[in-house]
Amino acid sequence: MSLIALLISGLFVNNFLLSRFLGLCPFFGVSKKTESALGMGIAATFVMVIASAVTYIIQQYILVPFDVVYLQTVMFILVIAGLVQFVELYLRKFQPDLYNMLGIYLPLITTNCAILGLALLNVTKGLNFIESVVHAVGAGGGFTLALMLMSGIRERLELAQVPKAFSGLPIAFITAAIMALAFMGFSGMI
């Protein structure tokens, strides 16, 4: 698959939130304000790109040569958890501005299925190193895009008169359904 197709697939066609159902917790949890949605999106994209690169190396140079692919789940989740911790430490020391922006969202990302899901998808699809990283950029971008759109709508929903039984989560789900319907329109693109 060409790199551009991979990028577009991650951004629109196979959007992580709206068509693959990965990483829904922040989609409903952190999507009440646009700023926090942006912060979460950037932090997730950042970790996705690094995690894709690192898990690719682990899969190709440790798990496959030593014939221990069954340890994939354990290895990947530990590596991602360690990576998030490491990124947090690095940012706090060397990039304090960026740390202040992303800081509180970073720990949340360890247990976000979008990161582990992306790493596993890269392996299932048999992508090479460059493709994995491009796929991560697309997926992260798509994640941020959907999160931002959702938060914009939810900021307005706060002021709207919603039937009592629908207020809060139910109306957010209905909104997501309509957004998913719109994103289905992209499905013929590639």
Binding site: F21, F28, Q72, A165, I174
Partner: protein, 201 residues
């Protein structure tokens, strides 16, 4: 804590899907057919019960500072076991569920129960909590998948046996929008029942 209360909490009062809105990714992704939802629910129940027991057994040994990584390793171990069992016994369903089986590791229900229940309670209560939280999750998944399968494909299939079928289907229900819509409507239904109950009391 009373066993009866733990059971009721898991099945209804703190139902992971409808009350706590936890573990949403598999709830929406695998509920396209009853069989898939059921198998996913059983796999999660298995992992939840086993990890709860082990966490509870080790709760005095695991130092507080490294408890989250320790829990994750315990959970990941049982997920790998569940993955292998499913691949061995129901290879077709294992293929359909795909990456969502290894993703049980990051299901917030399991880590949540380990942290908030099993690490503070004795082994037997933790086992009961694990089993019934898991059953609550399985019930919710089955409910959603029955609605989506019947409306989306016009038939209901249970492990390869056709239960019934009719000439009516809305394809959208097995696709992504249907998943969000079904769960949104179900959540509002439960809210509505709560509101009605509240006004009567």
């Amino acid at each position: 804590m009373k066993t009866g209360k733990i059971i009721w909490d898991g099945l209804a009062k703190q139902n992971p899907t409808f009350r706590m809105a936890l573990g949403l990714c598999p709830t929406l992704a695998v509920t396209t057919a009853l069989t898939n939802g059921l198998v996913m629910g059983i796999a999660v129940t298995f992992v939840l019960a086993c990890s709860n027991v082990l966490v509870s057994l080790l709760r005095k040994i695991i130092p507080d500072k490294v408890r989250i990584p320790a829990f994750i390793v315990i959970i990941a171990t049982f997920v790998t076991i569940a993955d292998m069992l499913l691949e061995g016994f129901v290879p077709d369903i294992h293929k359909t569920l795909g990456i969502f089986i290894p993703l049980i590791v990051v299901n917030c229900i399991i880590l949540g129960r380990a942290e908030s229940f099993a690490s503070k309670n004795p082994v037997f209560s933790s086992l009961v909590d694990g089993i019934f939280m898991g059953l609550g999750f399985t019930l919710s998944l089955s409910l959603i998948s029955v609605i989506r399968e019947v409306l989306g494909t016009g038939k209901l299939i249970f492990f390869g046996n056709l239960l019934f079928s009719f000439d009516f289907s809305v394809l959208g229900f097995v696709l992504a929008p249907g998943a969000f819509l079904t769960l949104g409507l179900l959540l509002s239904l439960f809210n509505y029942i709560d509101l009605k109950r509240g006004t009567r009391q």
